[in-house]
Symmetry: C2
Subunit: 367 residues, 2 copies
Amino acid sequence: MAAADEAQGFRPLDEASLVAYIRATPALAASLGGRVDDLAVKEVGDGNLNFVYIVSSDAGSVVVKQALPYIRCVGDSWPMTRERAYFEASALREHGRLCPDHVPEVYHFDRAMSLIGMRYIKPPHIILRKGLIAGVEYPLLAEHMSDYMAKTLFFTSLLYNSTTEHKKQVARYCENVEMCRLTEQVVFSDPYMVSKYNRWNSPFLDKDAEAVREDDGLKLEIAELKSMFIERAQALIHGDLHTGSIMVTRDSTQVIDPEFAFYAPMGYDIGAFLGNLILAYFAQDGHADQTNDRKAYKQWILKTIEESWNLFQQKFLGLWNKHKDGNGEAYLPAIYNNPELLSVVQKKYMTGLLHDSLGFGSAKMIR
Amino acid sequence: MAAADEAQGFRPLDEASLVAYIRATPALAASLGGRVDDLAVKEVGDGNLNFVYIVSSDAGSVVVKQALPYIRCVGDSWPMTRERAYFEASALREHGRLCPDHVPEVYHFDRAMSLIGMRYIKPPHIILRKGLIAGVEYPLLAEHMSDYMAKTLFFTSLLYNSTTEHKKQVARYCENVEMCRLTEQVVFSDPYMVSKYNRWNSPFLDKDAEAVREDDGLKLEIAELKSMFIERAQALIHGDLHTGSIMVTRDSTQVIDPEFAFYAPMGYDIGAFLGNLILAYFAQDGHADQTNDRKAYKQWILKTIEESWNLFQQKFLGLWNKHKDGNGEAYLPAIYNNPELLSVVQKKYMTGLLHDSLGFGSAKMIR
């Protein structure tokens, strides 16, 4: 594989070669104010998959992310296509175009090197998951995430696009199949069978893990969700929208890491976000101590869950109403322009979407 | 368009140039026993879209079908990609590989010319629709069509294929989007609005056509079927499986004309076939006369509808059981190999499929 990678112009960077790469790449040098003589490089890839560097000059900072041909947290025993960087860059650009307030800009993408240069999301931004563990309230989280989900999902669906545009994009993202398979495996398969990749708090949860493996009713539902996940090209989803893919301050919310992006059911994104908030809710008891019983914080999480859905629904329907006379192929104006009919149609659509979201959210929580 | 076509190596054939083409094409000449000096050519394209020639020598016959860059029955006012011939040839080959008894062989395909050379389906084969009008019973029709549908649908689904293979094929057939849009328009849109392409028996059915256009409950269902039709890549369907796409004798059933083929819900094919039989059932009263009241024939149609579904279900589940330990990604053996669970899963799958089929069948009947 190494030889094939090399032939394609790929070489894994370290801190020294990264500096040379940046100096030779105008778009990256520009993002550092052109001041590339004295660069500080810090590797911060605490994620599972990639190497992530923060590079700083005295005039600015940039994030450089490189995908290696395997899964970082497992090692080269689990190969994984570097092309995920291409889909990540594509989705960052597409979602960024649709929702620039909540997606970092891509300054540079090098497909041969599987390398993305993007906006540095400055401190005090932290990963939302860490904020939830620390018990920090984010008053705009529901507002921002509902905005992100409504825009990215609506504008990549058949409610807005013609079938021609839709199928073209679907075909393109079909090639991100390895990442799709990774999700299938870790979300829809491994938890329901004995797998070396499963992790649980053993021996305390041995019985629970076994109960999941033996729950036939659950497996029946999971099978349908899995097929829907693979077959149904409803919108360009982020594909991994848990609280580790969101960076926050009290005023700002930034969604990162869409390397799992492809056309799939909208409910998978919504469910991932809501399901992770529900997990965070239940995890609070473990974080409670004498100075903070976390009860108020649990109430804030519940309120955020509720508001996220309600605001999402409101914004999604707002976009639908605004663009109902456009190119969208699902509900043609000549057929659905009777206001009562449209309202019934929308109610049914949102009920189905909530149903899907709860199903996928549950699957993500079990995983 | 004509200039662009010419640049791509396309020229519409007539009987004389067709003969020259055949003489210059070894695969076609071979299908005529190499006897190409004295060829008889007959244009038989009674369909809506293409030119179809039967070419005969004293040693054999072959069918040559050429797609023109518009819809034949409308004329060049309705342009339509010639690439439909590529998808027709692809689907004939793929379905033919899976079910050779009921699909004609492709001897030759010329993409630049949008031209397919295929097995001549000999007399006394006639189009099933004509047989149903004439009141002819086909004792093996249910047996054969259930075989065709079970094999073509099962073997192109995630019950048999890996996600990798599935997404690759889905992406490929996404490019048949113009044909997909044509179906969307004539099946899921035009009947529910005022459209110049709608045809009904006016003025006798004016009220009925209007009732369809004003039935909000119906439009609600149709919208969901339409979205499912576009979004859900369940299997490689024929895409136009009405009784005009089936040629029959008492002993043989041959499925032709899959130019609408792409990955879509299985129920669309099953529903098209069953829905057309139901229409044929209701049409019988119009064909009754003093010598034949068609009552027995109506019973035969009903029995054929019932048997088609029952045999389809039996064969489809037979294939599923036979291949349950294979590469299919939807129901992994490690999770679903408990026989009771598998049986419950299968029952649920078939119930969903019947439900989809009845929905799509109804949409096709209304159209």
